[in-house]
Symmetry: C2
Subunit: 389 residues, 2 copies
């Protein structure tokens, strides 16, 4: 199926600047930004846009929450992308629909016992050392800020700079924004072969027999990037699926159980404006397994209940499992691939939504032959090539 | 929609012996047995057969599990119906399909701490006093019988006489058995009015305008029996909906996490031959509310995990909430109604599947003007009439 705007034949040999494999938030963000910069882009998606991790992610934009001391380079990238998100969201809302706006209610990190408080203190120190606004709170302070917190709230950190987006709305807005910029999005089209020319990739062929020729091929296939068997051996990035189960609870938009994102050591709870509360997420090494399990749901419900007892009254609306693109060092893989004209934009693990604006900027730079943002150094694919040789 | 076998107009004034309101296990069992005994019967169902409690029940046939000391009369009824189930199931398998057969793997009642062991001991004594086969087991014995039991198994009672059925299969078989006996089943037809003749009910009218005239009208509408506003005031039985949430877990049929029904104080786990494991059920006074809640699912998963830790690996396939027909004294209401020619067969609370054969026998007796089984004394509707005057 070919989405608007036009009906040019897919088999055309007319020259595209880039064919992007994968219509998740990463692939679509790259396509949108590339098209804005004047490049001709086609996106190839095996299923539907957002059908991978993007469609189930919570959309929390909490850069310090996902990185720790010892991962300073990754943290740099996360912070850089976080700074880009406000403008990215505003522009996207204009281009693709208002629902993509940033939810700016901040986050409350809570420790539910003394051990967790020690760990939280380290995260607080990290936030302060980075110059981020953050306030240390007693358990009582926490409950004043979020009256729904349970009696076990021991201490907390209020991080007003943290925010969230609804990734499903982001995918929808990106899709529209892409279409508006003349990007073709081909869905239901698994890639079956690379079109090679010596040591360079010249595009890809899809299951329906169509050939998509382009100056550059961008691999943005999320968890499926590591099983891109159509790439030459050695060009496939070391990406594996990391399963995450996540719950959607449904409550009142007027009296939500939490006014802001609540993050404990074992669960995060992200309220949406319509009364939904997203509770995520398990981290499981299970291969391409997206079964919802009793144990996964139990663990999420237990920790959600521990943080916010009122969740017990909420409707359990949906449970899904998604597959994050994991890498050996938890950092993404954004840069030139092992063969000519191949660009990698994958491996974002738990940070795909957060890192989308920075990744898009990096990919455009690569497509245009310009310098990638300094903060993407941590994502250089060459780090794995070196290990292999 | 009118199910086979024939196309007689619904508006016909030809005389039926009974019109039965409700196509759950109770209504269909009554209809089947009545038709077998030569009566002409029509079943009127507001939605689809089994769309109420029958469609979500676990189908455990454990008479002592649901009744306690002090409810001896109810226990008598449960035991009588339990004795009827084997033949009922065999006959039904012949008449309506093999899937309705009894699962005869027995049950293991487990106490997960010393307190629960005290309560379980009382249940064991009750079983023994009733002459039921039951064996007291240590925690180690329990784990020998069911190796999947968790370390908290403290003591147990093996009850080999207890069994189970799949209520969805039973509904399907009953439906077929009814059709084979010439019972008409009218679905998607809410009753809107009673057709009265002085102090007697002569049938019911349905939303589509059809009139269903019969010698007797049987109310078998489960949790909806108490809101049968189409009956004259004073003839509506005191039935209220009691919400129950129940989980379907999916595992291997070859290596099930339990070989038999496992019953702890707070959860029951009923294995099915196809690898499913049913975990039920909450008991909630919430009116006509069938929302699945975080708290309900959490409680069931926690207790299931406590009894059988391996459930954590099972797929959580389905969570639903059903409405049981509760009564003021937890006993069913089977007998003559407050107006002439009205028969009540409702209020079975947590025992509808178990009590279906006995209830059907009682209803046939009432329709034929014969004596109802002695054990149904506890279900006499007159007990509430007396209270009211």
């Amino acid at each position: 199926m070919l989405v608007l705007p036009d009906s040019r034949p897919q088999n055309t040999h007319e020259r595209l600047d880039a064919v992007i494999v994968g219509a998740g938030v990463i692939g679509l963000a790259c396509a949108w930004r590339a098209a804005q910069s004047g490049l001709r882009v086609r996106v190839i998606e095996r299923s539907e846009p957002g059908s991978g991790a993007s469609g189930v992610a919570a959309g929390m934009l909490a850069p310090v929450g996902e990185a720790t001391w010892g991962e300073e380079d990754l943290l740099d990238a996360a912070l850089a992308s976080h700074r880009m998100w406000a403008e990215f969201a505003t522009e996207l809302a204009d281009a693709g629909g208002a629902d993509s706006s940033l939810l700016r209610n901040g986050a409350l990190h809570v420790a539910l016992d003394a051990d967790e408080a020690g760990e939280l203190r380290r995260r607080y120190d990290l936030m302060r050392s980075l110059g981020l606004e953050a306030e240390w709170l007693t358990g009582r302070d926490c409950r004043e800020l979020e009256p729904g917190l349970g009696p076990s709230a021991f201490a907390g950190v209020h991080a007003p700079h943290e925010s969230g987006v609804d990734p499903v709305a982001i995918v929808s807005a990106l899709r529209q924004a892409c279409v508006n910029e003349g990007v073709e999005i081909v869905t239901g089209a698994p890639v079956t072969a690379a079109i090679l020319d010596g040591d360079a990739i010249r595009g890809v062929a899809t299951e329906d027999g169509a050939e998509h020729l382009a100056e550059a091929t961008v691999l943005a296939a999320g968890a499926w990037s590591g099983s891109a068997g159509w790439l030459p051996e050695g060009a496939v990035p070391p990406v594996r699926p990391v399963k995450g189960q996540i719950l959607t609870l449904r409550g009142s938009p007027v009296e939500p159980v939490a006014g802001r994102i609540v993050i404990s050591e074992r669960v995060y709870l992200v309220p949406r404006a319509d009364g939904r509360l997203i509770a995520g997420a398990t981290v499981e090494e299970m291969g391409f397994d997206t079964r919802v399990t009793a144990g996964g749901v139990y663990e999420l419900l237990r920790e959600a209940y521990r943080a916010l007892p009122d969740v017990a009254e909420l409707e359990l609306e949906r449970v899904v499992a998604g597959l994050r693109p994991g890498t050996p060092d938890n950092a993404p893989i954004v840069g030139r691939g092992a063969i000519d004209r191949l660009v990698l934009a994958t491996g974002h693990f738990r940070n795909g939504i957060l890192l989308a604006p920075l990744t898009a900027e990096g990919v455009i730079a690569l497509l245009r032959g310009e310098a990638v943002p300094r903060e993407l150094g941590v994502a250089d694919p060459a780090r794995f090539a070196k290990v292999a040789t």
